[in-house]
Symmetry: D2
């Protein structure tokens, strides 16, 4: 074993700063900008040196760019629901209000369109009473929507309303929008701090080990799987098929599979699978039904999209195939297959997405939300902009929006998560 | 106010008895056969006397027909899942085993087909270890199925296996089957006690105020409604439509509506409704969307079946209409309507049935199951047969199977339950 | 079996009415005053006739005494916490506001002292916003306290504030106070409707089968028992002792015992027990520890009070004995006993009272609260006063306060509840 | 910003290996021994180089020391309960049995004394049926106890039973015991793999960011805090004081405080506090009671131990002081203080420890347990011994037992966890 680490070259991820931080921070502790976290922390003495990304640690800075007395902040929530949105809103407000003492915090309503004074509703002025109990509830008190806003109109509005800081809670599209807001404001010479908190129940954001809401989704989905297991077990040849969230990454399906230990097959976007043939999924399912007489299957919504070939789409007039809905498609395939095999099965199809994503944050997510929120506003008060709060190696970091949205995270087929899924289900690594 | 009750004529509901009860009961207390409970307990001095049904009180009898040392009992669970099946199985076994000391208790598997020695699996011999923790889980450890069994084959089998008592957990069809078992055994001169425990998550059994599993279903459905409310509230013009169990009676939908207080419209089988027209449902929904910009709708699966007219079925090639699925049909109607009205809405459709019915019994149902089970076996040991345990005016009673299956319970439009729904939702009494 | 019911003499329970009900009810349905519910509904052909209490059915009346436009109502919550207080407050307000359209509803704060304009805080004017989400939370938004108020000062205040109706949520003492309010107002010729909703987590109120909050308490206590079982099972000779609510009646302890099926001994106020001697509790516990090596014991706080004899109090200087705390006393006795028997045991003592009673109402209690509330205000609007809403044979009734507070309900040692406890635990009927 | 990392010297943490790994692994993937994780991952360009600990990454190795066909493994659980013990047992067994195919897995019973053939019970031979549902329950199916075992007797027994691998689930003492087992076996020339899984609900183990069970404890404690908040809020000057686990570290109290956001004061072992004086805790509490009229206080069991001075112990004859029970002591102090200040308060004291630690693992802990278990047995099969599985920077690692037990983890007063507590409560950093 070596007694030293090889020389490594590093590549900084620069965060834009609005200007000199000349106001003293009211927060009693601080973290220096010079402290860095490398993307790769595994030391491999056998590998050759390569350039690596490093990130600033998040946290309060000793000096701040904005003068709280003259600072107005805004918050906007965009895209689909995710447990914890209200927790982030609440912690952002409480820390801005009590710890920094900023003048006013506005809640823009109904997603990005709330930034448009014509299309959107009037923003709500947040108060301790307004946010008092919201963290115990799912959804978002500010409302949400999909879709962009005209960036110039939004920046006009932010300037008119004298908003200095805007926190954007949303997915990739939202964060890209945040970046445009900051660029547009910069063009106009208006010092606007745009700080994003990444929101995706799919947990597929690069530089973020766990996005908020993900753990709650896993917990809620686990309960569903446990009940699905009861359904499958209580009848002869019972098959329970559960569709879970996960367009590009199967983290929710994988987490719920390992947590519940009630699943026999997990089908994820990251691991393509064949249905037909002796090593296909259907043959493996048949084998299980014959030997154990029940099965629980989890499929992530983005799995098996390659099965919707142009050919298939042309031949078949089924709505499920046209809609490329893998859950309903799989249900139909399984039913057809067992019919052709002359094996009677009892099929239960469950799609709990809307129940899962609208749940209140569980305690672990509540803590995560609180920390994402406080780190976001420490960055903003220090005058940093065009960034998103990341979370890597159990530490919060600053990630430039452009870097974050240029990558996607998914489950590596040789990662311990996927291996845990294989161990929990007992399924083969690949149906091919 | 009068100082006496009018003379009332009563009509006994006779329970068949297998023979003289000559063995002493090991249970330290007993209830006399002569104690009766009238169906109608409301005294109306203004009304004229009419004949009324009265029922035996359930409970242990001082003497019993069966000699435990030579008695073998069987249990069978039939039909769809319902929270509490395992609780009933467990309490039946424990009381038979410990309190009465019967020789053996068999668990027939996979519903009625488990009574057929060719088609069914070998029954399981129940033990304290087998039932130890089953009451903490949903589903049924004995397995279930739909469909009947050849009565003669089943009785042959029960005689061959020397089964003296059979407990049937199921709905109307199951209880009718139980009646046939008893009639067939009687024909053969074989003293078979058949005692049913009514099982329906819909709570639509006559002479039973609350069937087991119903309260758990309400509790689980309430959570879903609360999350559906979060979905609807978090977007502009959000409409969450939740389909719940209830083919002939809307008790689950009504209970969950009152419990959650999160619902704006509840549509039940008992109260027909029109979709179109100025007083129709769609106009009322539009009004709410315009004024409050969100709505939560609950529909019981048996509601609005009259909307599937022959005409509609002919014209329309939609699968949802052909399947007479009111949930999906309503979703399509609402979407079409708001499109035609040029009002953008965000629709969320949720069907949580399989999650609800496979849940473990909550504590109230656990108590109910325990009492249904113990009362069922007290009746059986006393040699009573062809009956079902009922529950009326907070008391357990004996109901002849034929009487029970000749009626259905549904929610009266002028009952306090329906009035509670109206108060909780604020909806009009009828969309017409 | 007889074909008629014997002639029964009945004793009416008269409810005081403030005057003629000359306003039309806005509620679309009504129940007549002449409909009566007898206390005893069991028909025993062998018994001799005796006079029986009968009660008015609760529900909206066709005419009302108060004119909503000029009516102001008040609500007060008193005594210890109980799940469901907020649900009752909410449903009272919503029905008064939306269904009847009364002018104003005041929430008096901090229990009866809130009726005193000097000692109490200013009451809160209830609004739809104020009550919006309160039913999802435990505690009481109005605050509570123990202790009475000077009745004359309170009535002065109610008259000054032009309060016509007051709803009192509390136990016996509270209801007695309500009676005095009504008597004092009557003396002054001020038509004040006082309607009580009985509140006791112990479920020991006469003429009320289930008080609101009781079922939630059972559910929460069951979870605790399940965990206590884990504690006892995981060590050699583990004894988990759980103290639950129940001063005069052991309904919570009994319910949780039957629901969890995890208890070996339940000790209730209604069933005295001896500790020492060959048939005493300690000997039975020792027997269980030797054979099964673990035990779960539930004791209601009012059990075994006779063990605190004058002698014992004199001899012993232990604080637990002086405080007559049966939980801690029993813990000490058990530890001492096994030490003297030279059997090492691992003792876990759990007192979850404050956690149980501060929980939010579960769905069954939520429904019960809603119905108690609506029935209470139907009575008040009809001009009825000096009454409490009862709940008997699954029906809501009107009970004169004086009658209700003159009796207590407890578990009969030959009731099915106590028999269920014996069956669930396997314990002997009496340790003597 | 620098473009390279300074040269760092590293200190390997060597893991003992039983011998050459010459059997091929049945696991389809592997991790090399040469991959290392440094303890410190923060790069500070300003700091001078210093020697740093590095650890092996956990995971399956390409070759294994043990031949599964001839390998017998044992599992033992020691010390107090912690959510997740059954999950670890289950995943250990399933992976040993299905993935590696070892001959037999023994569950030693009742903690370390189960290794003694005279004092302990016969171990249970684990089977798929035995472990089937255990992960849904709290406690440990193997039983547990405190206290050591005679190491020579234990090793004799392991040799006699031909146990090659032993997994020790427990705290520091247990792990030290594991080290002695391995040393003793080595002395005898018997190749015994001893691999520990660190178990402490307090989460105070060095090199382990989150021990299993900790997150469940936080979740359960959060619910208690929420109810405590209801208690405090519902009365005038209500003070709810909750004692939580945490002898040397306040992680549970801190986590539950941040998760619930319902706490006003959190008192932890890491942050000493004064009671008296103008900046003491009691004065701050008084201030809050005067301004807000309620307070929720959380105290970790190990907090404020310096308050039990020799002086205090001498003067005072209170049992609470003698027992050094900070919860009861604080309760008494607060009551005395407000009495002397002539401010009436309503005090609620809650100690939920036994309820919290006996809960079933929540879904996040279920996943953590699964991964700890699988990593433990990968290490063992590879012939590694005298180690504990650690978890740092979101990665599982191998930690020599001696290193792990030589340190303790606690919350740094300038850590983000403690700062989150301060932000959530609004309390001052120190009462002094």
């Amino acid at each position: 074993m070596p007694s030293f680490i090889k020389f490594k070259s590093i590549k900084a991820t620069n965060i834009t700063v609005l200007g000199e931080a000349k106001f003293e921070s009211p927060i009693g502790h601080s973290i220096s900008d010079r402290l860095l976290i490398p993307e790769n922390i595994v030391i491999d003495p056998a590998s050759t040196a390569k350039e690596e990304l490093v990130f600033e640690l998040a946290g309060p800075r000793s000096a701040q760019f904005f003068d709280p007395k003259h600072t107005r902040a805004g918050i906007v929530t965009c895209g689909g629901l995710c447990p914890g949105l209200n927790n982030v809103i609440r912690s952002l407000f409480l820390e801005l209000h009590y710890a920094y003492g900023v003048k006013e915090v506005l809640g823009f309503r109904g997603g990005y369109q709330g930034l448009d004074p014509v299309k959107g509703k009037e923003p709500v002025v947040l108060t301790p009473e307004f946010v008092n109990k919201i963290h115990k509830e799912g959804g978002t008190v500010l409302g949400t929507s999909r879709g962009p806003v005209d960036i110039r109109i939004a920046v006009d509005n932010l300037i008119k309303r004298e908003v200095n800081i805007i926190f954007t809670l949303g997915g990739d599209g939202t964060q890209r929008g945040g970046n445009e807001l900051f660029q547009e404001a910069k063009k106009r010479g208006y010092p606007l701090a745009v700080v994003g908190v990444p929101k995706t129940i799919d947990n597929d954001v690069a530089f973020v080990t766990r996005t908020f809401g993900y753990l709650t989704a896993v917990a809620e989905a686990s309960k569903v799987l446990s009940n699905a297991h009861n359904e499958a077990l209580s009848v002869e040849n019972g098959i329970a098929l559960v569709k879970l969230m996960g367009r590009n990454a199967g983290f929710v399906a994988a987490g719920a599979t390992v947590a519940s230990q009630d699943v026999n097959f997990a089908l994820l976007p990251e691991v393509p699978f064949k249905l037909e043939g002796p090593n296909g999924f259907l043959a493996a399912l048949k084998e299980l039904i014959i030997t154990r007489s029940h099965a629980v299957i989890v499929v992530a919504e983005g799995a098996g999209q390659d099965l919707f070939t142009a050919d298939k789409l042309k031949q078949d007039d089924s709505g499920n195939i046209k809609a490329k809905d893998i859950g309903l498609f799989l249900r139909d395939c399984i039913e057809k297959y067992f019919k052709s095999e002359n094996i009677p099965v009892v099929m239960r199809y469950i799609d709990p997405s809307y129940i899962v994503r609208s749940s209140a944050a569980n305690s672990e997510d509540a803590i995560l939300c609180d920390m994402f929120a406080r780190n976001a506003l420490h960055a903003a008060m220090a005058g940093k902009t065009g960034l998103v709060i990341g979370y890597m190696h159990d530490r919060f970091i600053h990630v430039p929006i452009e870097l974050l949205t240029s990558r996607k995270k998914s489950m590596e087929p040789d990662s311990f998560q996927w291996k845990s899924v294989l161990s929990s289900t007992g399924q083969v690594a690949q149906f091919e």
